[in-house]
Symmetry: C2
Amino acid sequence: VALLHALVSLGFGSLILCHVDHRLRGRASSGDALFVQRLAGKLGLRCVVFKSEVGKLAAGKKLSLETAARDARFECFASAAQANGCETIFLAHHADDQVETFLFNLFRGAGALGLGGMRTETTREIGGLSLQVVRPLLGVWRAEIDEYIAAHKLKFREDATNAGLGNTRSKMRHQVIPMIEQTLGREVRRAVWKTAEILRAQSDFLQSSIGIPGDELSVPELRALPDALQEVLLREWLKLKAVPDIGYELIQSIRGLLATDSARAKVNLPGGRHVRRRAKKLFVE
Amino acid sequence: VALLHALVSLGFGSLILCHVDHRLRGRASSGDALFVQRLAGKLGLRCVVFKSEVGKLAAGKKLSLETAARDARFECFASAAQANGCETIFLAHHADDQVETFLFNLFRGAGALGLGGMRTETTREIGGLSLQVVRPLLGVWRAEIDEYIAAHKLKFREDATNAGLGNTRSKMRHQVIPMIEQTLGREVRRAVWKTAEILRAQSDFLQSSIGIPGDELSVPELRALPDALQEVLLREWLKLKAVPDIGYELIQSIRGLLATDSARAKVNLPGGRHVRRRAKKLFVE
């Protein structure tokens, strides 16, 4: 709501509100949709509401609910953008989101490249469409947004999944981070936020050092790379192969295939696929 | 004690036990020294005990107690090594130490390069002496060491600062990490440990990309570097200048001097020194 208000105040006239109902939250969810539709009516903006059966999607593609929901959202955004000739998507992630994402990825072992966090500006290819994704609030703290909302007397609606403590992200926000700050007697969010900034710069540099990986990877060339670049290259390669939830364990298993004395020649991937080593090449099948 | 037992069992005969009394812990501290001396006697090893007034050192050099204590320990180790013709120092840091150090540095805003953690093997120059520093237990968990101690019925003595909850590191060990694991309902130490591994590989690669910085830095050359390398280069440069406790804020302040429109030409360093920009160069004075 705060982002929308700010964008409208800044003169962005032709905005389209896009709401995705994940069909996971019961009644709260249709309430969200209604709220978004009314808000759009009040501001004279177009509004698109999608329904996406995320539970089924996640089960079908063997993805986590969180990953399936994110993919579904981006597909809806892309479809709304294509239908309306939009090139830019604004998302309202804020600085606390960035910190929670960092700690979430750290504690689940996503590896260093998963820690760089979200970007203020990035380009995303979705279904053949190239969209600019902008997060203007990524450096703004939740408390500052609350002040903005209060100052402008904006009506808002708490996301049902945020208020409950049903998932890891909520626990991070409402329990873990406050407990850490209370126990250590210091504010830690800013330090974590800055670390995410630095790691993103590092991973940008590492990615620019390797270029775009090909369809198959040469084992001797991989072996010759420093450890840090092996990890980056394998991760980029798996991303291009649309492998979801790429974590440290998976990367290490694949690096295990590079050892000259490795008897193993196959590593399982989610969704029944695998990475295979044959004739000094790695490929996905 | 476990490390010592393991080294003796492996046939390392000519070990010298080195204990540094930081004069901070009152009676517990002389008890520690006595314990170490008796242990050495029992094993037939030489033993050196140093006394170091860390409180005064820290105040005099304007360092944190932790930094002053670490510097003092390494100076004692170097002096014992030189007197006895040793080339290698064994330290008993374990995997939990590594995880606590990572979180400690993350939450105090040390920046990404502070997160790589300790190394299993490294070389350290102390007072003109080049010493190999080995931490054989860095991949071994505290619980595994406890099992080893129990299995071999070793007598041990808990470090007085470990048992109390007087400092940040103890809080991390006894409160923060258990709380995180309990709240999230999962083990997080392994994930953090692995992240430290990856970040160390990354920072090794980044450091190898910049080489050794000179006495003064060229502002135009710094400007031309990617963000990640600017940070690494400045951090390495400050390390060579023996600047203690290098954090993200300091690096960012110095990067502020690089802006073409920067009116500021000076950044303060601990201990009354500063970084100055003049004639397109950065130098410490």
